[in-house]
């Protein structure tokens, strides 16, 4: 994944397109757990895992962990996008109530586990609840990115087709 400078508009388009593609691929797994993917599609999963790694690193920084992870402006950017949809995931009852800050990292790690398992072609080992959560995470975050992208392109009013 190309290094994105924090706050650059490229991040919105890159993460946005990555999220829509990942959401779509995960939907195929939801519909057919023995789904096969092309090398190009596995490349998308690899990028999605990098995105989740950044989110988790960012969250570890937020939680005050010292060392053992890579804190960067990119990771803060990634987690700030991801945190925006936590409340939506909760409202939709896709995650349990967050009682402790460490619960947040576990949610993101669960999503990363799914992507990791798919990347390793271990389709039989996919936890169906985590798969469902991962698919919805990418669907919901891509909706946010659509809104951000339309804002950047000054599409007023946003397209609501």
């Amino acid at each position: 994944m190309a290094t994105l400078v924090f706050g650059e508009r490229g991040a919105v388009f890159n993460y946005g397109l990555l999220s829509t593609k990942t959401s779509r691929l995960l939907k195929r797994v939801v519909n057919n757990p023995m789904q096969s993917f092309s090398e190009e599609e596995f490349r998308i999963f690899a990028k999605a895992k990098t995105f989740l790694d950044q989110i988790i690193d960012g969250q570890r920084l937020m939680e005050g962990e010292k060392g053992g992870f890579k804190a960067s402006l990119e990771s803060v950017e990634a987690v700030s996008h991801a945190l925006r949809i936590l409340s939506v995931l909760r409202t939709e009852q896709m995650i349990n109530e967050i009682k402790d800050i460490s619960d947040i990292k576990k949610i993101f790690e669960g999503i990363r586990d799914v992507i990791q398992v798919i990347n390793e072609r271990q389709f039989g080992n996919i936890d169906s609840d985590k798969l469902y959560l991962a698919r919805n995470f990418f669907l919901l975050i891509s909706r946010k990115f659509v809104s951000d992208a339309q804002e950047l392109a000054q599409l007023h009013p946003p397209m609501t087709l």
Binding site: M1, A2, L4, V5, F6, G7, E8, R9, G10, A11, F13, N14, G16, L17, L18, T20, K21, S23, R24, K27, R28, E40, R43, I44, K47, Q59, L61, M62, G64, K66, K70, A71, S72, L73, V76, E77, V79, S80, L83, L86, S87, I98, I101, I104, L139, S142, R143, F145, V146, A149, Q150, L152, A153, Q154, L155, M159, L161
Partner: protein, 242 residues
């Protein structure tokens, strides 16, 4: 969500690409004091064609356009296209009649002594300011990374320079040769950015986090994280003004 929505978005993308390419062809008829604006014309044109191709082939894998993910993807592609369109002003403004054309070549030669592989575009802007845009190509690459295959990415960017710096100057001072000496200052910004980019981010991010923690009494973790993010954004904005 409906198939009709996706089809409408595709037709919008195809139409906008046609408009942008028509404009690029008009602009390319102008005279430029160097070849760099034409290089950027080709890059923007090829990006538009790649976006169009991607829009037209979206959904081919499943044979269906009736999908929210596809619709979201098309909306982002359309937004990206419209976000890139204003970059036409960089090439349009770089024409001979808009620039101090006799300054462009000497300034390019001077710039090349510092940045051997990074050509520049000099163009006027109505804002009374001098600016440099140092990451145009890198942003294009990042935007397209998730929709182009490695091969497509290579075809699109292999022949273009690693980066192009777009340097803007106040258009009303076009003939003020003394003021144009400030242009040299703009060439220093990428060096400053590189220097700041080499800072140990982990170290100062931890310090920022600790400072923010002190000021937050609420226990909502989402809010705490957002405040940290806002603070880091503020610092980045300040740094961008170096």
């Amino acid at each position: 969500m409906s198939r009709a929505s996706a089809e409408h978005l595709i037709s919008l993308i195809v139409h906008k690409v046609r408009l942008v390419i028509d404009l690029l062809e008009d602009i390319s008829l102008k005279k430029f004091p160097s070849e760099t604006p034409r290089i950027l014309i080709d890059i923007i044109k090829n990006i538009c064609l790649a976006l169009k191709h991607h829009a037209l082939t979206t959904g081919e894998d499943t044979g269906s356009l009736d999908d929210e993910d596809i619709e979201n993807e098309l909306k982002i592609i359309l937004s990206l296209l419209l976000d890139i369109t204003p970059h036409l002003r960089f090439v349009e403004g770089a024409s001979v009649e808009r620039t101090p054309w006799d300054l462009v070549q000497p300034f390019e030669d001077f710039s090349r002594r510092i940045y051997q592989k990074t050509p520049i575009i000099l163009r006027p802007q109505w804002a009374y300011n001098f600016t440099i845009r140092p990451n145009l190509i890198r942003t294009y690459k990042a935007c397209l990374e998730s929709i182009l295959s490695d091969d497509e990415h290579r075809v699109l960017f292999d022949k273009c320079p690693e980066e192009i710096y777009v340097i803007s100057f106040p258009g009303i001072e076009r003939k003020n040769i003394l003021l144009q000496s400030i242009l040299g200052h703009e060439l220093g910004h990428p060096i400053a950015s590189e220097y700041l980019g080499n800072e140990d981010q982990s170290s100062y991010l931890s310090e920022i986090r600790d400072e923010v923690d002190k000021h937050i009494t609420e226990t909502d973790p989402t809010k705490r994280s957002q405040e940290l993010s806002d603070k880091v954004k503020l610092i980045q904005m300040i740094r961008n003004h170096f």
